[in-house]
């Protein structure tokens, strides 16, 4: 089992969600996050004074999938989250040791 984490542009969230549903991903967890990558921040101006805003708002989404599906899911996210402009985000994959479905007590791939 693998945890796929993606940090994407907030306005692409709906596209990514629809694309993942279309390939039968059973669930995702979404958080609003802030951060910077190579895009850097942006500036805002209040009464003529410029403020550098270092942390740009992003959405982080996480989903746990069976190892056999990792490439399909990662490619789907990458395709649906892309705008081709700077700041599109990142996807990374980590190993997951154990998954429990709380209601039923199922473990492993059945719990996903």
């Amino acid at each position: 089992m693998k945890l796929i984490t993606a940090v994407i542009k907030p306005f692409k969230l709906d596209d990514v969600k629809d694309a993942l549903k279309a390939i039968d991903v059973t669930g995702i967890t979404v958080s609003e996050v802030r951060g910077f990558g190579r895009q850097g921040g942006h500036t805002e101006t209040y009464r003529g004074a410029e403020y550098k805003i270092d942390f740009v708002p992003k959405v982080s989404l996480a989903t746990v999938v069976d190892a056999s599906r990792v490439d399909d899911v990662v490619d789907t996210i990458a395709k649906s989250a892309a705008t081709g402009k700077i700041g599109d985000g990142k996807i990374w994959v980590t190993d997951v040791d154990r998954v429990v479905r709380i209601r039923t007590g199922e473990e492993g791939p059945e719990a996903i």
């Binding site: 101006t45 209040y46 009464r47 003529g48």
Partner: protein
């Protein structure tokens, strides 16, 4: 006794309600501009002025401004606890004057809170504005509205000197004593909720109708002129500010629109019932442009006037007070002509004197008062409290909980 006029009375009572509404409006105008951890602290300082200053006004304030002492410097104790105020001769009841002027006394010290945002200790703030009302506002209001500056010939329709120059200079004095916010100049401190600032701007603009058009204490042609002048100066204040902001900073911003409108309202305050024709448009636009340019003063001087009370109220007040010396028109209000209407330099000179007198008096007394409070009870919260914010450190509350 003069007979009471029900029309005048109704309008002054209505205006008192309008001016009262400005203080919560100011609270949200300022509140939106501070960081979220200081939101309740800012709202509280403004709302608290409604409690404390109203009480002081009823006990002794009104009497010290309007009690007929026979001198131009300070009133007397005839109207202590508002006793016998309806003996005041006039076509509105004395109690209507009490109500209307009380709301002015309330909002004036509240204006200072924008300069000292995020770091003023609440108890010290209470002591500061209590004594400030007694020692600074009341004498200045007496001189300008009912005393020697008025007798000398200086004009102030609704409080350009007594309120805006006075509060603006006081803000500067307190800022110098209290020092800059921790992280000033290095940490970004952007406004946390500009929609609330826009709402506060609307309330201020609305309430200012009563502030200025009520200041003739009559429902007449001068009041109508003052109302229109007030609105127009806010309009061109906004346009002037946005134009220079766009040219110099790249964008026309919502905070700029709000600030420009308020700058125009400040500048028209002394002029409202004395000018007409293109004057309100010019006065408002001048304030919008000059107040924007005055934003640079605090950077140069390293004064952490957090929400620009100096640029908007002090500079706006000076612009209005001096421009009145040029634009006052006997066709509007009987007796006074400025430079542009053949009145020569006489009025301009009196306006200049009034601005200087009120400014110097306010600075000296406020500075001394702030120093005394700072060395006894401490004006400023400690560093940890400042990091946590006023809401939690001063009031044990949070503005926003999920």
């Amino acid at each position: 006794m003069i007979a009471l006029d029900s029309g005048h009375t109704a309008w002054v009572l209505m205006s008192a309600a309008l001016v009262l509404f400005m203080t919560p409006g100011l609270a949200f105008f300022y509140g939106g501009m501070v960081r979220s951890k200081n939101m309740l602290g800012m709202l509280m300082q403004n709302i608290f002025a409604m409690g404390l200053v109203s009480t002081i006004w009823a006990i002794v304030g009104f009497s010290l401004v309007f009690g007929d002492s026979g001198n131009g410097w300070i009133g007397n104790f005839d109207f202590l606890f508002l006793a016998d105020v309806n003996n005041l001769d006039g076509d509105i009841p004395g109690m209507a004057l009490v109500a209307f002027q009380m709301m002015f006394a309330v909002i004036t010290p509240a204006l200072i809170t924008g300069a000292t945002a995020d770091r003023l200790k609440f108890g010290s703030y209470a002591v500061l504005i209590g004594f400030w009302s007694l020692l600074v506002y009341i004498p200045a209001a007496k001189w300008v509205f009912n005393g020697w500056l008025l007798d000398m010939g200086a004009l102030d329709f609704a409080g350009g000197t007594a309120i805006h120059i006075n509060a603006g200079v006081a803000a500067l004095a307190v800022v110098i004593v209290i020092g800059n916010r921790k992280g000033h100049g290095t940490v970004a401190m952007p406004p946390h909720n500009l929609p609330l600032t826009m709402l506060g701007t609307g309330i201020l603009w609305f309430g200012w109708i009563g502030f200025n058009a009520g200041s003739g204490l009559a429902a007449d042609g001068v009041a109508a002129q003052a109302l229109v002048n007030t609105h127009l100066a806010a309009a061109t204040g906004m346009l002037g500010w946005l134009l220079v902001e766009k040219l110099k900073a790249g964008h026309a911003t919502t905070l700029g629109a709000a600030s420009g409108a308020v700058a125009g309202l400040v500048a028209i305050t002394p002029c409202a019932g004395f000018v007409g024709g293109p004057a309100p448009l010019i006065i408002g636009a001048a304030a919008g442009v000059l107040c924007f340019l005055a934003l640079g003063i605090k950077e140069k001087m390293n004064w952490d006037d957090s929400l620009d009370v100096i640029a908007v109220h002090l500079i706006g007040g000076i612009v209005g007070t001096l421009l009145l010396g040029f634009f006052a028109d006997t066709a509007i209000n009987g007796e006074f002509d400025g430079v542009f209407y053949g009145g020569g330099l006489e009025l301009l000179k009196d306006q200049f004197v009034a601005a200087i007198v009120v400014g110097v008096f306010s600075f000296v007394v406020t500075f001394a008062l702030a120093k005394i409070i700072d060395s006894t009870m401490g004006l400023r919260i400690d560093e940890e409290a400042e990091l946590r914010g006023l809401d939690q450190s001063q009031h044990a509350e949070s503005a926003y909980t999920s």
